[in-house]
Amino acid sequence: MPTEAIDPPGISWLRVSPKYVTVRLVEWAFGNLIAVALLSLPLVFTLAGWWDWVPLWLAITVPAFMLVLAVWRLLLIPRQVRAIGYAERDDDLLIRGGIFFQRTLVVPYGRMQYVDIGVGPVERSLGLCTLKLHTASAGTNAEIPGLPADEGARLREQLSARGAARLAGL
């Protein structure tokens, strides 16, 4: 499969911290391992002989399928984190992400209404933060996760200053 990037050429992307992989791993563990464990219950029950109405092949296939999916997602995480990037241009901020479903977003500074910084428990222990930009459109959904805390603070100040200088109405 040709992996031609969709973003405009000639942009040097800033990458997020590699430590963000850990955050994603914790999220992955919460979501996927619990799902696999729950789906394995019928298998356990069947093997233990408490249940006899579930066919064995079904009790094996479903959790196995989930497990494969989960492992697949796990293997993708480092690449997905590496794919996240952002670039400050003179008038707008570019954010990119995704491997299979790629997205490149451009948010003009003058359109930003406010900038949020969010820190979750795992992120805090690693010294990371998530920066979120809001425009008048709910569809903007501009998020840069996994920024080192000081880089996040710098970016927020920078964006706020640039936004104030170029603020336009709706």
């Binding site: 499969m1 031609e4 973003d7 405009p8 997205r103 451009v106 359109r111 425009t135 569809g139 501009a142």
Partner: protein, 509 residues
């Protein structure tokens, strides 16, 4: 016009008009039994209850008294003020609430008259402000003349007109308006009958007949009764809302009036329309009808409440000439020398079958559509996606004029989306694995919530990337040109007269 800054109350009858349902419910609850007994010639009270009559009467009276008292309190504590560029509304006597809205951020202003209010000559004034959060500021109810006067004042302030310093209390004249188009009732009925929902009604009817014939289950028809009632209600709502639709232009913006029993008059100030969609369901093609919907900040999506769908409709049904007229109001400067041809290509055009502008070098995206192009300068999907979108390929495309981006799509459900450059919030390029295989990408423009969601479908990768960059630059330029939220202030200060500035008012936004 009252002096500036004075705190005013809404009309004393308003809580009763708003709460008539509650009063009617109380009346119904206590009255029905008595009424039935009177009809049947029985004594008003059973023997066993007759001893308690005073209590019952006292209880009913108390409930009524409390309700009326509540109404009066709500009325007494609801006050509003227009001063210093703000509208402030105070409500509540236990939990006080003050809302204030910046006048220069007014996005749209409506005068709504439900049937009962209309009988009493009252109206609700409702305005959407971009910085007031999600819900509108509403004043219910005012005398209709007062509501019009207040609307004129708010719009004049929002436009950047200051009150005359020598006569601060002088009434601002209401801006004159000119009717641009109206929708005849016959066309409205026709459009409802040929709408998508009618198609599904017919489909459902056929399916149910077939099912009942196959299963020989006669009772099947009974299930259709509630469905039919619901459908009748839906049709009635559409008819009631769309009846007597009139669009007019005034220096304050576009005025839309509609409604059979409940009437509504919307005013969209110039430049408040964030995005616009012209669509044509397949059956409407017989008569060449189109529908126009808009995104306005504060109106929100059609699902947010029942009134959303009608408020975001710019034209419920109209012929091509109506669409062009509305487009010229919304986009006074189309940014192209030949707007009729470009927009017509956007509405009905198809790329040549051979795919002359597909797969080749990126079409020139700057400077507007190329003259002489039979397809109005639309750049469509490249030929290589004919397996992905065999029907839509020659239709899905975009064209950029100096002032707006035009996105067209749909072979059967035709759609044309227009986004003014200075209204683009942000943009994103999307590409999934299949799209990557075909070297195409989607470009999504983000606007405020509403029925229009602009998306360029399956543009060639090079074209999409060029558009992404060019569009960012164009939006930047357009924002620089637009300096103020006050639409008269954007014009060179030639004639600070409300009446005469009509042309300028329209052309800049």
């Amino acid at each position: 016009m009252k002096p500036d800054g004075e705190w005013l109350r809404v009309h004393p009858a308003s809580p009763f008009i708003r709460g008539w349902v509650a009063l009617a419910a109380i009346g119904f609850f206590f009255g029905r039994d008595t009424f039935e007994r009177l009809l049947q010639g029985r004594p008003l009270m059973d023997e066993m209850y007759s001893g308690r009559v005073p209590f019952l009467l006292a209880g009913g009276g108390l409930v009524l008294l409390l309700a009326v008292l509540g109404f009066i309190m709500t009325w007494y504590f609801t006050r509003y003020q227009v001063a210093e560029g703000y509208v402030r509304v105070n409500t509540g006597f236990l939990f006080k609430q003050q809302r204030q809205a910046r006048l220069d951020r007014v996005q749209a202003i409506d005068i709504v008259q439900p049937l009962l209010a209309r009988i009493f000559g009252l109206a609700e004034l409702k305005f959407e402000v971009a910085d007031a959060g999600e819900s509108a500021v509403r004043l219910a109810y005012l005398r209709i003349d007062d509501a019009r006067q207040l609307r004129a004042t708010i719009l004049a302030r929002a436009a950047g007109l200051e009150p005359d310093p020598e006569r601060p209390g002088a009434a601002l004249p209401e801006a004159p308006e000119f009717v641009v188009l109206s929708v005849p009732p016959s066309r409205l009925v026709g459009s409802l009958l040929l709408s998508e929902q009618s198609f599904f009604v017919a489909l459902g009817a056929v399916a149910s007949v077939v099912l009942s014939a196959l299963t020989e289950n006669r009772s099947f028809y009974f299930y259709l009764i509630p469905a039919a009632l619901g459908l009748a209600a839906a049709y009635w709502a559409s008819f009631n809302k769309g009846y007597n639709f009139t669009a007019a232009i005034s220096p304050d913006g576009i005025r839309l009036r509609y409604g059979l029993l409940d009437t509504q008059a919307q005013t969209l100030p110039p430049g408040r329309i964030q995005a616009l969609k012209v669509s044509q369901p397949p059956l409407w093609r017989i008569f060449g009808w189109y529908r126009m919907q808009v995104n306005v900040a504060g109106y929100g999506g059609p699902g947010s409440n029942g009134e959303g769908a009608s408020r975001t409709t710019l034209l419920p049904v109209g012929v091509l000439a109506d669409v062009m007229r509305m487009l010229s109001l919304v986009l006074p400067d189309p940014g192209t020398p030949d707007p009729a041809r470009v927009f017509a290509a956007g509405l009905t055009g198809l790329a040549p079958a051979g795919g002359s502008n597909a797969g080749g070098p990126p079409a020139p995206a700057a400077g507007g559509p190329v003259a002489g192009d039979p397809d109005g300068g639309f750049v469509t999907s490249p030929r290589r996606v004919r397996l992905l979108a065999p029907l839509g390929r020659r239709r899905n495309g975009f064209a950029a004029t100096d002032t707006a981006l035009l996105i067209r799509s749909g072979r059967l459900w035709r759609e044309l989306v227009v986004v003014p450059h200075q209204r683009t919030q942000s943009m994103a390029l999307h590409q999934g694995p299949l799209a990557r295989r075909f070297r195409v990408a989607d470009l999504v423009l983000h606007t405020t919530a509403g029925p229009v969601s602009p998306r360029v479908i399956q543009a060639g990768l090079d074209e999409a990337r060029a558009l992404f960059d060019a569009q960012a630059a164009r939006a930047r330029e357009a924002r620089k040109r637009q300096t103020s939220e006050q639409w008269l202030a954007q014009v060179a200060p030639r004639q600070p007269d409300h009446q005469q500035n009509q042309q300028e008012g329209q052309q800049h936004g």
